[in-house]
Amino acid sequence: MADTSSPSSLTSKLRPLDLGGAVVGLRFLGPIAAFVLGEGEIVLVDEAETRVRAHHGAVLSVSGDDKRLLTGGDDGRVVATAADGTTQALFEQKGRWIDQVAAGPDGASAFSAGKTAHFLPVKGERKSHDFPSTVGGLAFAPKGTRLAVAHYGGVSLWFPNAQAKPEFLEWKGSHRGVMWSPDMRFVVTTMQEAALHGWRLSDGGHMRMTGYPSRVTSMAFTTGGKFLATSGSSEAILWPFASKEGPMGKQPSMLAPRDVRVSAVAAHPRDEVIACGYEDGLVLMVRISDGAEILLRAPDGGAVSALAWRGDGGALAIGTESGAAGLTVF
């Protein structure tokens, strides 16, 4: 429930939305908030709400950039959806699940089905590579054509346009999500265990980030890559990544503690501010420098499953597991 100290509140600015299905992903396509529902629909919200059916089945993975939303489904399709609601199937294979999708620079895309990852350039041929086990996470490097592919036992760095074997970053265990730091010096994975693992690419140095009471399912680098904000605990955990060594030997910052676990985080694109959603549906905006909190959404029971800032930082979209959603324009 709300803290007794009653932080300042902007809940009056929240425009509640009833989407009628669990939100599994969220992106802003320019000014339009695109909510991805688990059962295959996409709801595009500006003044109006437009519904688009992207998949005939469940959506398993969501990615995108400011122009397109990429989704992968258990219908074997990879679908790109634009802000005007047009959809394009980039790939289709009946009987397979598309487990992971990733949007790359210059309109390139990647996706995986089982152990096989595929790279789809805007022009030219699709490239594929089989990894040692099912792909758990897929992420393009912020620049260039290089993919981090998480799987059992570590991460492979794959240059789809090169013949060379992918570079392998080893760490025992099952790696699920994967992310590059904005400066491309670090790669971080969320693990099956309640932990993160990171590698410093310059020397392969390991970073073990542990101590979580539950698995980390949401993470985001704050502006300039200064911190990695994560879910998984009853406060937002922020690992310091500003220095050369990364977070090794340092304690994380803990912001916005409650008696409910953080289920989603999103970093403001310009300011040192994060949005922090909890398992009871409450959403806070938190300033990193002093931990000051502003309440954006009161709890309603459904866990916050996705958060996204508009590209200019002027709006935040909120999705939950229960289908209740919201849009706050500042």
Partner: protein
């Protein structure tokens, strides 16, 4: 509106050595007019005829967990598949997982206790093993997987009974009992069985542990016992001290968890009006107070282990040292 806690989706695991009749059983379950819809996880497509149900292919990826349990393995492919299935959870009433004939059931079962999301939304209902009445005895000699599948089972279909004599059937049943005294055994032909004897068993549900039947345990089948894999049961009518018992069982399952496939117990603690029940899969233990002991019920503590190469004398001594 706050969410109403939805019941967990039951998961049935079908095991059995190659050719025992697993796929026939699966087809029977799916084709019965039960009005339910199942999500089915199979290892090979093509053999099952299904119109209405969801079918997913699995890859049998066994992952070790880095949590200090040396034997804690899970099925990574199942975690992924169940995460995916849960996104369309209104679409089905239960999940059935068919394993390959050579699969170890332990990582499958452990997945449901170790993975948070899977454990929060689904619950393991039972491990159902189909065994070939004619060939099981041979497989128990030469195939360690077949032995594990029997040891792990909650329900055993002793199938193809038309191919053996009554004497042979009794013999194979006794061998099964020597390994696994918990399981309900059903004699079948062509995997023909009422669906309610296979699904909805609640075998891992602590509330449904009623009794550990001593007849099964002390039926005098010792001369058939399997040297390698077998069950041991110990009991006492003296109340136990929880402060001794819990450290003992935790230490035991940490040290011997690799060799203990399943464990189960109904315990009477000193000055405690409630029955305490527990069940375990290798190192993973799940236990709770269940209900008050009834007045007409002897307050007997009984514990059973199914495993390989267990030191019976040490187990008994350890258990009896927990008497308050």
């Amino acid at each position: 509106m706050p969410d109403v806690a939805s019941p967990k989706i039951p998961v049935t695991v079908l095991t059995g050595y190659l050719g025992a009749g697993k796929t026939t059983l699966l087809n029977r379950i799916l084709s019965e007019p039960h009005g339910k819809k199942y999500a089915v996880v199979v290892n090979e497509f093509g053999e099952i005829g299904i119109d209405n149900d969801l079918v997913v292919g699995a890859d049998e990826e066994v992952f070790e967990m880095n949590n200090g349990c040396i034997c804690c393995t899970v099925r990574g492919d199942l975690i992924r598949i169940i995460d995916g299935l849960l996104r369309r959870k209104n679409d089905f009433d239960g999940i059935i997982i068919e394993t390959t004939g050579l699969a170890d059931p332990a990582p499958v079962a452990q997945t449901f206790f170790v993975d948070e999301t899977v454990g929060a939304k689904t619950s393991l209902d039972a491990v159902v093993t189909v065994a070939d009445a004619k060939w099981l005895k041979d497989r128990l000699k030469d195939a360690p997987e077949a032995k594990s599948q029997i040891a792990f089972a909650d329900v055993i279909l002793l199938n193809k009974t038309d191919l053996v004599t009554e004497t042979e059937l009794k013999d194979v049943e006794m061998r099964i009992r020597a390994i696994n005294p918990f399981a309900r055994i059903h004699r079948t032909q062509r995997s023909e069985i009422a669906i309610d004897k296979v699904l909805g068993q609640g075998a891992f549900d602590l509330d449904r542990i009623q009794a550990i039947d001593p007849d099964f345990l002390e039926g005098g089948h010792r001369h058939f016992h399997d040297e390698d894999m077998r069950s041991y049961s110990f009991s006492t009518d003296k109340p136990l001290d929880p402060d001794t018992f819990f450290p003992w069982i935790q230490d035991l399952t940490q040290r011997e968890g690799v060799n203990i496939l399943r464990s189960k117990g109904i315990l009477a603690f000193k000055d405690d009006p409630d029955r305490f029940v527990f069940q375990g899969v290798h190192m993973i233990l799940d236990g709770d107070h269940q209900r008050p002991w009834r007045a007409d019920e002897p307050k007997l503590s009984r514990i059973v282990f199914i495993g390989r190469q267990l030191d019976a004398a040490a187990l008994e001594k350890g258990f009896l040292s927990c008497v308050a």
